[in-house]
Symmetry: C2
Subunit: 436 residues, 2 copies
């Protein structure tokens, strides 16, 4: 309300990177607008638990407005960005437009089917709450339909779940679905035994969890096998169809295929016409700036940033958070006229993945953990990181209850059952019975 | 697995009535199949809280399989019934068919637009979890869009929410949305003040809550007005459009209209070709039997049962539960050869409705309560009734937290925003800015 024009900072994307940027600008003499097309920040590391009915959507999502309520220089806009004019410094969105002085792009990534986008209807990926609801609905519906079908071949197909991609998301999904089938659902059906479900994890490389230490990779593989997951390494997917997956080592009949194999950047690169890498990520300099554009930054999964080992930084939450905090400080310093020349240096705090409900692998510097201790560390770190206090408490309640009872509170199919629609063409019509 | 043929009982519908039927057959020498097209039982009396972001879907829904896990003579089938042949005693569903000896229909009701089904896209009703997610998404998105739009007339339209129907559902929705706007969202926006929202409750009759005592009706009306709800009694809806509601007393511009005005029975009457009333409910005799058909019962909201006062019993949970338990016992008795001739007698245990977060009206016999004591009774009865222990605990955690903080944990928009799609045709394209 004062006469001076305050610089306008626009942050696109309310994930870990975007939120960290806004918070780092908390005391800066700027006006910040955070734009996201969803109204919520999502704690993505636990999204696989929503997809496998361990947690509710609302345990890991929180309205962005609540998170930024007390930051008076920040406003939130739920809108979808259509394009950016980096010369006039204007963003166009579905409700209008917005001028900026500094722009931070933090729109993240989406699934990539490596040029086979027609696989998507048969193999959904896991990035949003909608994705998680869809996967949960498909997995739970597969068991329901297997119980209902009189056809043994179709029953087998329904009880086969294929996960494509052996990174952390694929490993976590496979472990969690195996436990769902072998424990949670075990006593619920009469005609089928969910424990008979075939759960296949396909990875094109020779090992799972490529970014981890070889010993931990092997531990993860063994643990998954013990949970009843069929791990297929060095196997490539050639086709995904409504009735299964064609791989380099044969056809796997399945009605439920989940995609955790690849990502590509959201189209922010196209908005700017700037240089992108093979995955569509914006190539940035060592200050997270988009070269040749003034005051435009890209951070997190969206950014191709060369780390100290000469390779791009991985697409993990801590990179996004550190870059967000860094860019926020950079902008604050430039606005207040301080010299701000230090380049961004990534500090790797550790690397973790869970396998089922009491095992995990973790690396911190040169230390490596596996098994139950790693799982406890994983649990602690994730609970402490959940942004909002209430999410933490209710997520903890759900977890403790699930741990004690093997129940899963979120086991409700509420998405529209598109699997059923998709298949109705192939399902035979019931024949009238003869009864005397 | 024994040689003797056990009578097959098929129950269609896993609501209060269907579940009570199955449970009453727990010790009977029969095979029970419960068919539902959803995998969950829904605690409908609290559905309005899911629609207004007070509770998560999973707080009030529970997999039917879990509820019946320990009942060995019961199986659950998730399927959609297509037709019934009452002569051959066969049910056809989307996965095949099923023979029965005894059939219990408990499929409930859906919304009725009194012949104006084209209003439905603009005025969703509240019967399922999907409905609740849709309403939550529309209400929360309306505030988001109001914050985003530059057009003051459109902003006003977005900040107007109309609820049609002054029964318990309409009253509970209106009170809960008023509190959402005036308290929960109050500090979250920068351009709009959610407390300015216009919340209109329209009822064609001269008073709200027709089934309650006049003193309690008046208390409910006064409490709603104090919460900031505009109560319009004796007003009829003539048309519902994308931009508002045409009523007998004028046009109300609004982007969010909710329908709580009428119900009609699900099509079980059509399956049987039996007598139905004006609402499509199956007319049953004083044993809940469908006349002229052998071993076919209809219960709960689906049934038109004449009570001791000569009027049909109301569509409430207690009628359904009592009828379900009665029919289950009837079938058990007839199977074991006991004489079972007592007609069904409804015992009214009381009548309640909440208005916001600390007021309610309640009647028990001749006793009448209003205000905070009634709300405490309401809370106690509903918590104790929630079928599963875990739902109760987590719902209680959410409520206590919401009560203390005015926060609402479930404030996440995850349904696809159909409102936005619906409106995109009418929204002007942003014009390019001029910037010097």
């Amino acid at each position: 309300m004062d006469g001076a024009h305050k610089p306008m900072v626009v942050v696109i994307g309310g994930g870990f990177g975007g939120l960290a940027t806004v918070k780092a600008l908390g005391r800066a003499p700027v006006e910040v607008t955070l734009i996201d097309r969803q109204n919520h920040h999502l704690f993505q590391p636990l999204l696989y638990q929503v997809a496998t009915a361990g947690l509710s959507a609302t345990n890991i999502a929180w309205p962005i407005r609540s998170l930024l309520r007390s930051q008076r220089n920040a406003r939130v806009l739920m809108a979808e960005v259509r394009s950016v004019d980096p010369i006039k410094r204007v963003i166009f969105h579905d409700h209008g437009f917005l001028a900026y002085d500094h722009l931070v792009l933090a729109t993240g990534v989406t699934h990539s089917y490596f040029g086979h986008d027609h696989w998507e209807p048969f193999a959904p990926g896991l990035k949003t709450l909608q994705d998680a609801a869809e996967i949960r609905s498909r997995v739970l519906s597969a068991f329901e339909q297997a119980e209902a079908t009189p056809n043994p071949l179709e029953r087998r197909r329904l009880l086969s779940i294929v996960i494509v991609g052996g990174g952390p998301t694929g490993v976590e999904l496979a472990g969690s679905i195996a436990e769902l089938a072998r424990r949670t659902l075990a006593r619920d059906f009469r005609k089928i035994d969910p424990a008979d479900a075939r759960i296949v994890l396909i990875e094109a490389e020779d090992h799972l969890l490529a970014s981890f230490d070889p010993g931990l990779r092997e531990y993860a593989r063994r643990t998954l096998v013990r949970l009843g997951v069929e791990v297929q390494n060095g196997v490539r997917v050639n086709d995904v169809r409504v009735d299964g997956v064609e791989t380099s080592s044969g056809f796997i009949p399945s009605r439920t295929v989940l995609w955790a194999a690849g990502v590509r950047a959201t189209p922010a690169g196209e908005w700017l016409g700037a240089d992108v890498d093979r995955m569509g990520r914006l190539v940035v300099d060592d200050h997270c700036r988009v070269p040749r554009l003034d005051n435009v930054y890209a951070i997190g999964d969206l950014a191709h940033f060369i780390g100290s080992d000469g390779k791009p930084l991985p697409g993990v939450a801590q990179v996004a958070m550190q870059q967000g905090a860094y860019v926020g400080r950079q902008i604050a310093d430039s606005v207040t006229g301080e010299s701000a020349t230090a380049r961004f240096v990534y500090k790797n705090l550790g690397n973790m993945a869970t396998i089922g409900r009491r095992a995990a692998v973790a690396e911190f510097g040169h230390a490596r953990f596996a098994g139950f201790p790693a799982w406890l560390v994983w649990l602690f770190v994730h609970l402490m990181s959940l942004v909002a206090f209430r999410s933490r408490v209710t997520a903890l309640v759900e977890w403790v209850a699930a741990y004690v009872t093997y129940e899963r509170g979120a086991r409700v199919i509420s998405a529209r059952d598109e699997t059923a629609d998709r298949e109705s063409a192939t399902r035979p019509t019931p024949k009238p019975p003869t009864r005397t």
